[in-house]
Amino acid sequence: MMKKLLFVLASLALLAGCHEDNPEDLTPAVDVTGSWELSSATTRVMVGGEQVSVYLVFSSSGSFDIYQKIGAGRYTHFTGSYTLNKEEKLLSGTYSDGTKWGPYEAALQGTTLSLNLPGGKEVDSYRKIDAVPESVTGNVY
């Protein structure tokens, strides 16, 4: 009887949970897969005339590509692997030469992905795009 009651209570709790307006649970699970373009960055504001252009591509298989152009010249292409801790929403990775990056706190609002260093002041936002333009992928060092 006790076991049965506990089961019922648990079911109720579960059902209740499904309908509860818990603000935390309104935030969708962070899914970083896809292509992203840097849309705003603290540094971008700070550097004024310098052009900073960054594209991130996170694949579902766990690999990433970064195309970046800081200042003049062509894009530099970086590759490697990444992991996303979905519970803590922490994104980290390893460049193909073994160098680690992150972890960044990842937050997704609509089509905007924010990656911030925990406790840091730098805020970088990325806009979801269909694919990295050919004018970028075809213009690398």
Binding site: L38, T42, T43, M46, V47, G48, E50, V52, V54, L56, I66, Q68, I70, G71, A72, G73, R74, T76, F78, G93, Y95, D97, T99, K100, W101, G102, Y104, L115, L117, G120, K121, E122, Y141
Partner: protein, 674 residues
């Protein structure tokens, strides 16, 4: 005046002055450019102010056959000619039997004379040993060569453009011992017909099957009619001019001596021209660095002939050839010659008041012949005597001088190195066991060697490699509609290098391995081959724009300066670091902890203590997100800047780098954004 000069000349004839050092008193400082060999029937004079015709007539003392302007004035260039004093240079031709040194001594004492210059004979910067090469059967026209973009059948043997480490070139071959031009051809540019390179050398065989299409043509001249149609002072100068013989360009003048050896033209100019712009992708022979893609888009070659047969190029000949290049539209002069004498300084070479040749070079560099630069670029060979200094005129501090390496990416046994040498390029080197394949392969006159192609070695061959790369760079900058100052462009050239010193320092035995040069110690060459090996791809990237460097806030760190100075940045001598207050403020730069090991590895500190450079690294400590420009000055070619009364040295290279400070560590040196 005339009578006293005559008396002195006569007495000098009786007892010749042994050398210019016997010129008395202050007049001695007016006499410049004493070489190993000079013309005895004439010398050059530069007046303090341009003399009137009457004044010139008064100076025509007995013993002087004639006095005539050294340079032909070019319509529309009179102001520039005056600016560089070209209008004040005259040739003094002596009567037969007149004694040269006495005349020089007397003329130097005249108050109105600023400079007296011997008419020195230049030497070609190659041993002129040639190994002809038969052209292999052409590949099908639609098939590109296995080693590159073009179908030229001999391109796979031109390791000097794209060296993939094939041991047939040397048992100690080094992948990348080349000018790194392959990707430039494939992705960026192959040339531009508006960019003209003057080959100041032996005559270029302008109807060579692999050069004809890329020869510059003077459209104002009707070939062979014996008339100066364009009224530039030169008759029938269609592809250039023979300044040595004052007539049509030639490339096979000479004779066989009693022992049956050829004495005369060597094909030197034709070989250099092929390296710069042999026609590419024509299914024929060799490729040229700026020879186009096969769509008639190569850079053009102008032949400014200063050597002919056994006759060397005198100062008079060379100076006029260089001025012609400036006046007729060349953007680059490729000068594979020099004077073997050592000079203690630039002033010793020109004795402060100028020399005809340097005045002509500076006139050339001040002339604007392309939409990219506000001037032109002169490039010289460093010389082949294995001297630890560059030969003049290339050693002049603001003129680019080129040393030579082989397919082993080590200095060649003959190359000059050290002060005055600004940059290195492939010059080829005959190796025992490999033979001529390790030399530079290019075009030759068939009349001399029964083949259209062949191998040569020398800094003579290294020089046109840099000329070709610079021609490509001007083509690319033109395509991108970018403009630069001439001096800015020179700095970019010297900063667009790959490191050669690591290879020199890593030679296991300390001497050149294998190949018959085992006793040649490499130690003297360390840090002495200019800024490094010219790298065409890097130069194109510099033209596109310097990448910005990134630093992380909150820690002292070093940042690799190779994006700004090439991979030779670790080897350069740095003179100055300047951090403006705006950069200090924006990034919250803290004073850096100064280095302790400065005796062995000199460091250069910013005046405010906010940054220093050591080992080719910039040390900073930003505390907040921001950015700023930092200016760094280094020496390109040697450990000090030449010029004036300084010992021969390098060129000052000043680069500004943008620095962005972020919280992200940029991959801890990887440079990635995350």
């Amino acid at each position: 005046m005339a009578a006293s000069l005559l008396a002195a000349l006569v007495s000098c004839r009786q007892e010749p002055l042994p050398s210019v050092v016997d010129v008395p008193g202050s007049a001695r400082t007016k006499v410049v450019n004493l070489g190993d060999e000079w013309e005895t029937s004439s010398f050059l004079v530069k007046f303090a102010t341009r003399p009137s015709d009457a004044e010139l007539e008064d100076l025509r003392f007995e013993g002087v056959l004639s006095m005539e302007p050294l340079f032909k004035s070019f319509p529309g260039k009179e102001d520039l000619e005056r600016e560089f004093g070209l209008d004040r240079w005259f040739v003094v031709n002596l009567e037969e039997g007149a004694e040269l040194d006495g005349a020089v001594s007397l003329v130097a004492e005249l108050a109105q004379v600023a400079v007296v210059e011997y008419n020195v004979i230049a030497t070609k910067a190659s041993d002129c040993k040639v190994y002809p090469a038969a052209e292999p059967a052409a590949e099908p026209a639609t098939r590109a060569s296995a080693s590159g973009k073009f179908n030229d059948p001999m391109l796979p043997n031109q390791w000097h453009y794209y060296n993939q480490g094939n041991k047939s070139f040397s048992a100690y071959v080094a992948r990348g011992a080349d000018v790194n031009v392959n990707d430039v051809w494939s992705n960026l540019i192959c040339g531009d017909p508006d960019i003209i390179v003057a080959v100041v050398d032996e005559g270029v065989k302008y109807d060579h099957p692999d050069l004809a299409e890329n020869m510059w043509v003077n459209k104002g001249e009707i070939p062979g009619n014996g008339v100066d149609d364009d009224k530039n002072g030169y008759v029938d100068d269609v592809y250039g001019y023979n300044f040595n013989a004052n007539g049509p360009i030639s490339w096979n003048v000479g004779y066989y001596d009693g022992a049956g050896y050829w004495q005369g033209d060597s094909g030197h100019g034709t070989h250099c021209a092929g390296t710069i712009a042999a026609v590419n992708n024509n299914n024929k022979g060799v490729s040229g660095i700026a020879g186009g893609s096969g769509a008639q888009d190569g850079c053009k070659i102008m032949s400014c002939q200063i050597f002919s047969g056994n006759s060397g190029g005198s100062t008079r000949t060379v100076s006029n050839a260089i001025k012609y290049a400036a006046d007729m539209g060349a953007s680059i002069i490729s000068c594979s010659f020099g004077y073997t004498s050592a000079f203690a300084s630039d002033d010793a070479y020109k004795r402060a008041a100028g020399s005809a040749e340097i005045d002509a070079v500076h006139y050339f560099e001040a002339t604007r012949n392309n939409p990219v630069l506000d001037g032109n670029i002169a490039i010289f060979a460093a010389g082949n005597e294995n001297h630890n200094y560059a030969h003049y005129p290339g050693a002049f501090y603001d003129i680019i001088s080129v040393s030579a390496f082989g397919p082993d990416f080590l200095p060649t046994y003959f190359t000059n190195y050290g002060p005055g040498c600004n940059i290195s390029a492939p010059g080829g080197e005959y190796y025992h066991g490999v033979g001529e394949k390790s030399m530079v392969l290019s075009t030759l006159p068939k009349e001399l060697y029964k083949e259209d192609y062949g191998y040569m070695q020398g800094t003579s061959m290294a020089c046109p490699h840099v000329s070709g790369v610079v021609a490509l760079a001007l083509s690319y900058a033109k395509q991108l509609k970018k403009t630069f100052s001439r001096d800015e462009f020179k700095r970019m050239i010297l900063a667009s290098v790959s490191d050669i010193d690591q290879r020199i320092g890593a030679v296991p035995s300390g001497a050149k391995p294998l190949n018959g040069h085992e006793n040649l110690s490499m130690a003297p060459y360390y840090h002495q081959m200019g800024t490094g090996a010219i790298d065409a791809w890097r130069l194109m990237m510099h033209i596109e724009g310097l990448p910005t460097l990134t630093a992380q806030t909150g820690r002292q760190q070093w940042i690799d300066l190779s994006p700004a100075f090439g991979t030779a940045s670790v080897s350069l001598t740095y003179l100055k670091v300047e951090v403006p207050s705006a950069a200090v403020s924006s990034m919250g730069l803290q004073k850096v902890t100064p280095p302790t090991n400065t005796d062995k590895y000199p460091a250069v500190m910013d005046e405010g203590g906010y940054a220093y450079v050591q080992f080719g690294r910039l040390y900073v400590q930003p505390t907040k997100i921001g950015s700023g420009k930092i200016t760094i000055t280094a020496v390109g070619g040697g450990d000090h800047v030449g010029g004036g009364s300084n010992p021969p040295g390098g060129m000052e290279l000043t680069q500004s780098v943008s620095l962005i400070a972020r919280e992200a560590d940029g991959g801890n040196g990887t440079g990635g954004w995350l």
